[in-house]
């Protein structure tokens, strides 16, 4: 870049151009790390020709907090709370996955009451996460109003969480052996109130957005990914189920009481943005049905198994997987027999889902890219960890 004489007075912004435009007429744009569409600090270097996208190159690491390394110095009770900060929209489920892994290592039997409470909390979290996704995704395609409607319902779930867990975002409720505390006396009543309220509103969601002709035109036929490609990119969760990949951990490897409740694994065959959208919309109905089945059938008993004060996992490697709102969340613990893990690796769903973005976005328009990122439901702290 040619500099004029005055320019030394200013601090020039260094623009990262990782790919120079090879073909004449191509333009390299840095989308992010500060951009309204990336919902956080994701940095996409996109190459465009006119409005058509030729290449998308995600750059990560802007919110890397070395959580895996941090966990190595925390005890088996403590490290669970750090994982709330990864995928903050499904923090319950992250905690749950870690607790499952520790329980597997120590062979703790979780009391039935705690199992049901865990599943209820997971499904409420999934609902809250999908509501926020719905609001944010519609905002990506340009409709601003649904965001507030989604938050109206999400607020009710947050209130329920606040009463029982004491927090609204990073709940830290799951502990090895059960849950931290018993449910609040109001819990069942409030959840039932929420279900009746939400059942009247979810039709409103469809009226406002799903049936809209502009919205359908924006979503249908864009961001296509085939079943084979989705598997080879390691996509999981609703994003992969939009391409008819059977990957619901709740069905394939049932944990807690998921094998005792009735629910369907939602599969769509189209593989485009609209299929991924519909999977999440239908999953909300499934989550509602799971909650309805369990809310009146919480068994009596302990909410936590009796565990030792200091947990020591036996020497070995342990892996557990769980279905978060975004896909498969894996926890891999290597233990040397001490009070802290030797190594922890988290398999986050967002990371592999993001890797498919380039494949989907090529040939699409800039507006499509934003809509695709919306349907992938990316949470950046989950990707970077």
């Amino acid at each position: 870049m040619r500099r004029n004489k005055k320019s030394h007075l200013y601090r020039e912004t260094q623009i990262v151009e990782t790919h120079s435009a090879d073909v004449e007429g191509d333009l390299v744009i840095n989308v992010g790390p500060q951009h309204p569409a990336t919902h956080g600090v994701l940095h996409l270097v996109i190459t465009i020709n006119g409005e058509t996208i030729k290449k998308v190159d995600p750059h990560l690491g802007y919110i890397h907090r070395s959580i895996e390394k941090m966990c190595e110095s925390l005890s088996y009770r403590q490290f669970i709370y750090v994982t709330s900060r990864m995928d903050y929209l499904s923090s319950h489920i992250n905690n749950h996955g870690c607790a499952l892994c520790v329980e597997k290592g120590l062979q703790i039997q979780v009391p039935p009451r705690a199992q049901v409470i865990r599943v209820l909390m997971d499904e409420l979290t999934r609902l809250a996460s999908h509501q926020l996704w719905w609001g944010a995704m519609t905002m990506d395609v340009g409709a601003l109003t649904p965001f507030f409607h989604a938050f109206r319902e999400r607020e009710m779930i947050n209130d329920i969480m606040e009463e029982t867990c004491g927090a609204r975002l990073t709940m830290n409720y799951m502990v090895p052996g059960g849950v931290m505390a018993d449910i609040h006396p109001n819990f069942q009543r409030k959840v039932k109130e929420f279900i009746t309220h939400f059942k009247t509103k979810i039709g409103e969601y469809d009226e406002l957005v799903t049936g809209n002709v502009i919205f359908q035109n924006r979503m249908k036929g864009v961001g296509y990914i085939s079943k084979e490609d989705a598997i080879s990119y390691g996509m999981t969760g609703p994003s992969a189920r939009g391409s008819a990949v059977q990957c619901d951990i709740r069905k394939l490897y049932p944990y807690e009481v998921y094998d005792k409740v009735q629910f369907d694994e939602i599969l769509e065959t189209d593989g485009d943005s609209f299929a991924r959208y519909m999977v999440r919309m239908k999953e909300m109905h499934q989550s509602l049905s799971i909650i309805e089945q369990l809310i009146d059938n919480i068994p009596d008993g302990d909410f936590q198994a009796k565990t030792k004060a200091v947990l020591k996992l036996p020497k070995g490697e342990f892996y557990s997987r769980i279905e978060t709102a975004r896909g498969e969340f894996g926890v891999y613990i290597v233990s040397e027999g001490g009070t802290t893990p030797y190594r922890i690796k988290f398999r986050s769903p967002g990371f592999s889902n993001l890797s498919a973005l380039d494949h989907m976005a090529r040939g699409g328009k800039i507006g499509d890219l934003v809509a695709m990122m919306g349907t992938l439901d990316l949470v950046i702290p989950d990707i970077d960890r």
């Binding site: 409005e51 340009g142 109003t145 809209n212 502009i214 328009k365 507006g367 499509d368």
Partner: protein
């Protein structure tokens, strides 16, 4: 009754009696300029307030409610803040064009106010090509937008300006054709003639279905022309951050912002004038009691009522619909709206020739 004519005439007579004709004319120009600038800023403030209240109402929240009664002075406070903000020019921009662009956009929307008729006999300039003047001048604003996008030295701005150029140029066609439909029915381009022709009923009622089609196409096209959602691709904050005015801040940004809202007012006023009778009260036929009752409502209230109703409709669009994609936007215009409005114009011509309209 309720006419501003007497006031303006007495001022005019007094000025010409007191001063020499040249001085009197200059003073009148000055008064008009002050009125227009006042109207421009008041309209901007009121419409921004209205938008925030309408959006709050649709989005289950309260909207601004702290500054003044019911938050009424929030936009005044915002504007004051923008005025005292540093007028920053980024590094490596084309300084001349960068600073010129907001003024072009603003001046265009001020000039277009001239032929509009705000009430009975209350008009700045009753030019005989009034409606043509409005369409011609308002299309200059795209130059300001392209200038802003090009001069900003920012890829987002450039993309936004390119989108805006493609969009405004295409949608002007169907907006113009639907305006032509009414011009054909009226036989005049003069605003006062168009309004007077609606004395026994507004064109949207008199012109059969073609007039309604023209009205709907007009509303869609002007929504696109003013870069408002669902056609806000030029700004598209989730794609291009803020499009052509990404790099602007302070009062230069505020000028774009005010001009956008004044443009919305102008296109709605044109729509109200052409299809809903401007300041003309709701009349059916001639000389019945209903018409007399309607005449008691002041003409300015009729004009602003209709205009603000249309503005509300356009705001309603914005807070309900998702945004179109650029290729869908152009498809909509070139494949649907333009052929329909061309055919519609033929129909209207037939109706006008055969005098089928009421």
């Amino acid at each position: 009754m309720w006419s501003f004519e007497n006031i303006s005439h007495s001022i005019d007579t007094w000025l010409y009696n007191t001063f020499s004709p040249t001085t009197a004319m200059l003073i009148e120009f000055l008064i008009i300029a002050i009125c227009i600038i006042g109207l421009f800023s008041v309209l901007g403030l009121v419409l921004i307030m209205m938008e925030r209240k309408v959006s709050a109402w649709m989005q289950v929240r309260l909207g601004p409610n702290r500054v003044g009664p019911g938050g009424m002075f929030q936009t005044v406070a915002d504007t004051l803040k923008l005025i005292v903000k540093e007028g920053m020019t980024p590094n490596n921009v084309d300084r001349f064009l960068f600073n010129l662009a907001p003024f072009i956009v603003m001046i265009v929307s001020m000039v277009v106010l001239a032929p509009l008729m705000f009430a009975k006999n209350f008009q700045i300039w009753d030019i005989n090509i009034g409606i043509l003047f409005i369409t011609a001048v308002s299309s200059v604003s795209v130059i300001g937008i392209l200038m802003a996008g090009w001069a900003s030295n920012n890829k987002y701005s450039l993309l936004g300006a390119m989108r805006s150029g493609a969009q405004i140029v295409s949608y002007e066609l169907s907006a113009g054709l639907s305006i032509l439909a009414i011009v054909v029915l009226t036989g005049s381009l003069k605003i006062s003639d168009i309004i007077n022709s609606q004395e026994n009923g507004w064109w949207i009622f008199k012109g059969h279905i073609p007039a309604i089609i023209a009205f709907v196409i007009f509303i869609i096209a002007v929504t696109a022309e003013t870069n408002r959602a669902p056609f806000d691709l030029a700004e598209a904050e989730s794609e291009l951050t803020a499009g052509f005015h990404t790099e602007y801040s302070g009062m230069k940004f505020a000028l774009f912002f005010l001009a956008e809202y004044v443009n919305v007012f102008i296109v709605c006023a044109v729509g109200a004038t052409l299809f809903l009778g401007g300041w003309m009260p709701l009349h059916f036929g001639t000389g019945n009691k209903f018409n007399e009752v309607m005449d008691y409502i002041p003409s300015s209230i009729w004009f602003f009522g209709k205009t603000f109703f249309l503005i509300f409709v356009i705001m309603w669009f914005r807070w309900t619909f998702p945004r179109l994609r650029i290729d869908q936007l152009l498809n909509l215009e070139w494949k649907y709206l333009l052929p329909i409005s061309m055919f519609n114009l033929l129909l209207v011509t037939v109706i006008a020739i055969l005098k089928w309209h009421f």
